[in-house]
């Protein structure tokens, strides 16, 4: 024992000094907290952007002095311009999809928890891990920098469809350096994600402690592991897509720009490129991306639920894990359902429609597992569980919309309507956010050694749950009228009558956003003033609860861990730690 601790110290001495300890740290726990904090900041920026958008949608000609003060260019005299609305929309999507939804549940919690859950002292490549955070950070700064350049942020949406995004500033405001910075920012994000995924995979495969067979891994670890594979392949394609886009913009190539384009009566010097090529490359990444966002959420919820329902999930680790693997695999063959009306061959539409519909089967299995695990349970309604239940409800609601959008015939009506916007906010947006909140409330004691205030947590949940449904069910259902997305004002005759509904959504969204201030207050206050957290406040079984809160530098204080069974050792009030040699109580 003495020898092993000495060994550990040689290879992994705790760093001294503030900078090595908290800034350029190679400790996976610090990096996890850095990622989580970055996401939290990004989430609040993204939310404020959505407020500004919603206010503009509801009162497009209103003079709002604070807007004019914040952005004299984008809202001269406090009246937001359409191009600034689109810029805010683009940055809302970019910041939320990449820097919040992709980063928080995977890179944030995954970095902190995955090595602990498998019983390792750190990630396989700690320096690479640090590099991936700082590359993400630079990417985030580049994305934010677009707000401070004269031309403003890009306005071509988070999907950045070419040729709008590729031809440069002839296509209007927001297509100058903002779009270049966007491309570079996302390229950096890709690099960081690739490094992160590599680290996750190697750590899971190579650094499991004795007895931690694959079948005994925590369900969150499983989800991160599967997700790392999906991101590894998907981001590897987005990276060249961004590079080619930047080449088109800066080096004069024509990958995505066809010939004969005329802007402002000027014939453009490009020829031979294909906008559809961009769409294929983007969506080859883009559709797996929504699963990259939701798979960690699956894992977090599956990990949290058994603790609070005090029983294993139906079907043990296998059913839910195989469902996740199926979702991850199928996600690579469905991208064309984003392109049903894009001029792709109608036969290809059929080819993409069928796997898209079939991907519902593993998703339904996952939902059935969660819902039917509640049967005969002994539910403890702590905030993490409430958020998990909220996740299930939102995911069902959002998933249902998928039936309509997976079929080319119905999609040809609903495409690009607010039905789609509501659908993806439910599935990849709010479901993932709810799972992220569940994870936050669940792991906060472990990450910071303090308990969150449970009353404020519950209040935050109730307001968020009601608010989300008020905003997004209305959004999804108004889409049935054909209400077009990405419009900065309602000028079409058929959209003007929707104004009251849009105003309702705006007010609900503002309240929903205000409810997040409760969360912010709770998190900050509890971080410093909350009651001290015990090692295992929830009565859980996985390895992260088998060490102090927060864990020591090498996670287990040089202790030799031996794992004897899977994570779901619950039956009513009883539970057994994974490291406990006692006989299994629940079979898994």
């Amino acid at each position: 024992m003495a020898e092993t601790t000495a060994h550990a110290a040689v290879h992994h001495a705790p760093p001294q000094g503030f900078i090595r300890k908290y800034i350029f740290s190679i400790d996976h726990k610090v990096i996890g907290i850095q990622y989580t904090t970055l996401s939290l900041v990004a989430a609040f920026i993204g939310m404020v952007l959505s407020w500004a958008m919603r206010i503009h949608l509801a009162w497009p000609n209103a003079h709002i002095p604070i807007l004019g003060w914040l952005s004299p260019n984008g809202a001269p005299g406090g009246v937001m311009t359409p191009e600034y609305y689109l810029s805010l929309m683009t940055m809302h999507g970019t910041i939320m999809a990449f820097f919040v939804l992709t980063a928080a549940p995977m890179a944030g919690y995954g970095n902190f928890m995955l090595p602990i859950q498998v019983g390792a002292a750190d990630m396989a490549f700690p320096r690479l891990n640090m590099a991936s955070f700082w590359v993400t950070f630079i990417g985030f700064l580049l994305a934010c920098a677009t707000f401070f350049i004269p031309d403003g942020p890009p306005l071509s949406g988070w999907t950045a469809y070419a040729p709008l995004s590729a031809v440069g500033s002839v296509a209007g405001p927001g297509q100058g350096w903002g779009q270049n910075l966007w491309g570079l920012s996302i390229a950096l994000f890709c690099v960081a994600s690739l490094l992160g995924s590599l680290n996750f995979i190697v750590t899971t495969l190579d650094l499991r402690t004795k007895g931690m067979k694959l079948s005994r891994m925590a369900l969150s670890t499983w989800a991160w592991f599967i997700n790392a594979w999906v991101s590894l392949l998907a981001f590897a394609v987005l990276l060249p897509t961004c590079l080619l886009l930047v080449l088109d913009r800066l080096a004069g190539t024509s990958f995505f720009i066809p010939g004969g384009l005329v802007f402002n009566d000027q014939l453009q010097p490009h020829s031979g490129g294909s906008p559809l090529l961009f769409q294929h490359l983007f969506w080859f990444f883009g559709h797996p991306e929504v699963y990259i966002i939701i798979l960690p959420a699956f894992g977090i919820v599956s990990h949290i639920m058994p603790t609070f329902i005090r029983k294993p999930l139906v079907g043990g680790w296998k059913v839910i894990t195989f469902a996740e693997i199926a979702v991850g695999t199928l996600s690579f063959v469905v991208w064309g359902h984003h392109m049903f009306v894009s001029g792709m061959s109608p036969y290809m539409a059929m080819v993409f429609s069928v796997p898209t519909l079939f991907i519902t089967i593993p998703s339904v299995i996952a939902v059935l597992v969660w819902v039917f695990s509640l049967y005969g349970a002994n539910i403890r309604f702590d905030t993490p569980l409430l958020y998990s239940l909220g996740f299930i409800s939102l995911f069902i609601t959002g998933g249902i919309g998928g039936f309509f959008l997976a079929q080319p015939s119905t999609d040809s009506y609903l495409h690009a309507t607010s039905f789609v916007v509501g659908h993806f906010h439910f599935t990849m947006g709010l479901s993932a956010i709810f799972a992220t909140f569940a994870g936050f409330y669940y792991w906060f004691p472990k990450m910071f050694g303090r308990m969150l205030n449970e009353k404020l947590g519950k209040l935050h949940f109730w307001l968020s749950f009601i608010g989300v449904y008020c905003v997004f069910i209305t959004m999804q259902l108004t889409g049935m009228t054909g209400a077009v997305r990405r419009y900065s004002a309602l000028v079409d005759d058929f959209m003007v009558p929707l104004l009251p509904a849009y105003r309702f959504m705006t007010i609900a969204a503002l309240l929903l956003g205000a409810a997040q201030l409760i969360f912010l207050y709770n998190a900050i206050w509890s971080r410093f003033k909350g009651p001290k957290a015990p090692d295992n406040p929830w009565g859980a079984t996985t390895l992260e609860w088998d060490t102090t809160s927060p864990p020591p530098f090498d996670n287990f204080g040089g202790r030799q861990l031996i794992v004897y069974h899977g994570p779901m050792q619950y039956d009513g009030e009883k539970s057994e730690m994974q490291t406990s040699p006692a006989p299994s109580i629940a079979g898994t």
Binding site: P82, E83, L86, L155, S156, L164, A171, G174, P258, G260, V262, F263, D265, L267, G273, P275, L276, P312, V314, G315, V319, V341, S342, A349, M350, S353, V364, L368, F372, L374, Y375, A377, N378, I379, L389, T397, I400, F403, F404, Q407, P408, S409, T410, S412, Y413, H415, A416, T417, I466, I473, L477, G479, M480, T481, R485, S488, V491, D492, L498, G572
Partner: protein
């Protein structure tokens, strides 16, 4: 207590959503195309299937949360375990999606796999930032060639026609709105002069992107007269929200009258 509140909330949300759908609070507009009813029917069927799954899912979730909130010393698994769940997913949902794929492909095929009627009225459509322009071939029935370098919006040469040298182009009728005769097959060729746009007429149940570099044909037959909006649904820049045009479905006589008036304005 929290569980009961949660259950009640979920049920309320479910009922409210179901009400909005059943009462058609927000619903599709009238359907004026020959192929449209197939799409509507597909949408209705999907709504039934998906709606039932939605209600069942939320209600079962609410019920379990409502029922199993109390502290018990022992827990129990659902009889039969995961086997029945997986079977259910494959059997019911699998059949459902298979059915939707098969039926849906018929609706899709009816619109997109059929060749346009050879007697269709052919109208050329060009989208640009941020307006549509339409072109009728004129008396000679032939469209003039397009010369992008000649496009001059200042001189209202939106298509880049070489009127001085091209006899085919001279009689082309360029309009800012489109009029079509009712009950006549229409063939549109869509091309964009700059970025991606879309041709979306809700009442026709037609939505098709303009892809720069491609000429995309779509065809349909309108069955009712009226004036309908054409809106752009593909993000095209700052004026995206304000990019629209009108589709006038007219009787044959009115259509001819309209076309004559437009020709006089060239």
């Amino acid at each position: 207590m929290a569980g009961k509140i949660f259950a009640v909330l979920v049920v309320l949300v479910t009922l409210a959503t179901a009400y909005c759908v059943i009462a058609h609070v927000w619903w599709m507009p009238i359907d004026i195309s020959l192929h449209g009813p197939k799409i509507d029917q597909q949408l209705e069927e999907t709504m039934w299937v998906a709606g039932l799954l939605f209600i069942a899912g939320q209600i079962v979730l609410a019920a379990f949360v409502f029922l199993y909130g109390g502290a018990k010393s022992r827990t129990k698994q659902i009889p039969g375990g995961a086997k029945y769940l997986v079977i259910f997913a494959f059997a019911i949902v699998g059949l459902e999606v298979l059915g939707l794929s098969v039926v849906g492909s018929k609706a899709w095929g009816a619109v997109y796999f059929e060749a346009p009627d050879p007697n269709s009225l052919h109208i050329d459509v060009q989208a640009g930032q941020f307006a549509y322009y339409f072109r009728y071939p004129g008396p000679d029935g032939t469209f003039g060639a397009l010369h992008p370098e000649l496009i001059s919006e200042a001189n209202q040469n939106y298509f880049g026609l070489d009127i001085d040298h091209d006899a085919d182009a001279k009689d082309d009728i360029v309009t800012a709105e489109i009029a079509i005769p009712v009950n006549k097959p229409i063939l549109l060729t869509l091309h964009s002069k700059d970025v991606g746009h879309s041709f979306d007429v809700r009442e026709l149940r037609v939505q098709q992107d303009f892809v720069p570099g491609l000429v995309i044909p779509i065809h349909f037959t309108a069955t009712q007269t009226g004036r309908f909006e054409i809106v752009c649904t593909q993000l095209c820049g700052l004026g995206h929200y304000n990019m629209k045009a009108y589709l006038n479905v007219l009787s044959q006589a009115d259509y001819e009258e309209w076309l004559k008036k437009q020709a006089a304005m060239q």
